[in-house]
Symmetry: C2
Subunit: 408 residues, 2 copies
């Protein structure tokens, strides 16, 4: 075991991209109703203009704007009403100078009209005549053909994680189905003689499989699927069998647990026992999360996460989420929350530190309160709402300093 | 129709709470693996201590800390090694002064030991003797019984929207199933002669049911279920029939569309045609979203959303999300992103304005760029990442002013 050559967070990210970015993920077509938070595998190009016709945005009269120019309360313009446009129907008449036609909100305006005057601003003199008292300008209360979306416009890009608004856009285009990436397949192996599942009796000295369940949920949240979640005892052969199953059935294999020296050795040796480059990363200058192992077995990433729950979850968030975003080319912005840190914080020299914090709002400002606790404590995470990153070269943070909180 | 008595956003929220907070939502038990983002309907009280025993957080030797006091490189302490604790097994021996026992990470430490010295800091002299060169203090490298979670502690509260970390906590407790609220049931009615579904042919003058699809996705995202999504023509009887179906089968009925005067009248009249208080809110001093109607029919909320997609989605986010959070007592914090607005912005006096913005990061600072466009344009939303709220009493925002961006 050689724990001296630890790598930085950024070096590890580079290794992940270099070795695994090109993992092939299958695609499938789904109804847009099932596409929420799925990732588009193809650009969406509009085949149509939205709207396909010039629409009124108000209830009112479609006119030629120049018929309103110069009019006022003292000198109104009088216009002949040709009739009414019905919702959802094409207009088959046009207007000339001095003419207008009633259009409901969303209705089509006649070809020669360039604006709509709101019904509230019109004086109806009789069935066939209105008076208008103020000028309006070209384009007022009109959405022109293609104003929202133009034909041949790229509307959504490959790698978009689909939002409710995007589903609205797809509906506007009349797109029923989209091509998305199938879930990335994971195997989760929790290793350790002390780990028991929820349906087993808790004996003294044993501990529940916290990581297996938390990772399951993190993977689902990330859009992945879990082929198998299993617990293995600290035996080389048992671990190797499960890793082999994982490589054969999944895109990514996660081994969680194994914080004790014995298990760490097994994980290391198992990864090196397959065809491929074997162990690529063994120890990261990261707190928490140092004892992380990353290997390549038969072109698949096999990742040994630390056993402590906080470390395992943080390592997942830093590296697995990053890798998934890279594989699927996800263009997503994760925004941070600005806050004032309410305690001095020491960093660990040479390590990138992820300090858990809770957030409190006082007088319209957020305050970040560092949460302390050992990384074996799952409640340290459930009581925090995010973390602050303290860089390798930073000596620490000072009370009252402004920090960026990454939400969990 | 009386559009004069418009209410403020806060007044409308009060009306929603007063009339609909006590809607009864059924509960059910689900596996914790299916509980992600579901809402707990009962507090979770721990039946056990986590951990249930004093555990080592490192590979090392469990000792009595006072045996290390005063030792140094020049005057090491020598300790007898009694043996080894096996992972997942109870310790059946104890240590006396001058004795120690090897414990792997996560292993149980003997009763009389109060700290663990890391293997890296120990000199192994022979199979039965180690030397230690620096003092360590009580509690070092140990997690005590109950340190993470104490027996009878309230671990998660009713109204918690379950996170991956919470699932980790539940696993730690050995909790297999939790009681959660069943999805709140919605009916979505899109009304308008111009509205067609995705499988219909787009004729000139028609428009796709953008709102129906966007609302479907927003409801799913909020944890609700959609009993029916339907499109009705602008006819009083047809609309009333669908609202009746909705009231009978759902908890909340949404009518979307109906921006034209005729449809607005129908929605108003239909709501007033049922047993109950009828229309409670007719017009909100809100931009976009003014033409919103809220009524009570047979104790159920029936809500007429504006027809323009941006307005409908914003009204959903402001009022329906709020109502759902109130009904389920959800304790959730939505954090805002601080940004600098990069343009002057006028507000609409007397209205609360929701201004859509995109966010850009430059030199470690976020800049909010106002997105302009008519509220009938769905791309206005899909190109934005959030909104800034301009208060009723605020005259507007100045360029370079710091603002809070609410993410979509």
């Amino acid at each position: 075991m050689d724990f001296f050559n630890v790598m930085s967070v950024d070096e590890v990210k580079d290794i992940l991209v270099k070795n695994f970015k090109n993992i092939k993920i299958e695609t499938e077509k789904v109804s847009i109703l099932d596409s929420y938070e799925k990732v588009l595998s193809k650009d969406i190009i509009s085949q149509i203009n939205v709207p396909e016709f010039n629409r009124s945005t108000v209830d009112g009269y479609a006119i030629k704007s120049k018929d309103s120019h110069g009019c006022s309360d003292f000198m109104p313009s009088f216009l002949d009403v040709l009739g009414e446009v019905r919702m959802g129907e094409a207009v088959n008449i046009d207007i000339n100078n001095g003419q207008c036609i009633y259009v409901p909100t969303g209705g089509m305006i006649p070809k020669s009209s360039d604006c709509v005057i709101m019904i509230e601003h019109v004086e109806k003199l009789d069935e066939n005549t209105i008076a208008i008292h103020k000028p309006i300008s070209t384009g007022e209360n009109v959405v022109y053909k293609g104003d929202d979306i133009k034909e041949n416009e790229k509307v959504l890009s490959k790698g978009t994680k689909i939002t409710s608004q995007d589903i609205g856009v797809l509906a506007a285009l009349g797109v029923n189905e989209v091509e998305i990436y199938k879930p990335i397949k994971f195997t989760i192996i929790s290793s350790g003689d002390e780990i028991i599942d929820l349906d087993e009796k808790l004996e003294f000295g044993k501990i529940r499989d916290i990581n297996g369940y938390a990772l399951y949920s993190l993977i689902k949240n990330l859009g992945g699927s879990i082929v198998k979640r299993t617990i293995v005892k600290d035996k080389y052969d048992l671990l190797r069998d499960e890793v082999l199953n994982g490589i054969n059935s999944s895109d990514i294999v996660l081994i969680s647990g194994g914080s004790s020296v014995g298990t760490k050795d097994y994980t290391y040796d198992v990864i090196n026992s397959f065809d491929g480059q074997g162990v690529l990363v063994h120890g990261i200058s990261l707190k928490p999360g140092k004892p992380t192992i990353i290997g390549e077995c038969q072109n698949k990433p096999v990742i040994g996460l630390p056993g402590h729950p906080v470390s395992a979850i943080i390592v997942f968030k830093i590296f697995i989420e990053y890798l998934v975003n890279e594989i699927l080319d996800i263009n997503i912005n994760k925004y941070t929350v600005s806050a004032i840190i309410d305690k001095n914080l020491h960093s660990s020299p040479g390590k990138r530190t992820y300090q858990m914090v809770s957030l409190e709002e006082v007088d319209n400002k957020y305050y970040a309160r560092p949460m302390f606790g050992k990384s074996s404590m799952i409640t340290l995470l459930s009581k925090s709402c995010g973390y602050v990153i303290i860089d390798e070269n930073c000596e620490g943070l000072y009370k009252e300093q402004e920090v960026k909180v990454h939400l969990l």
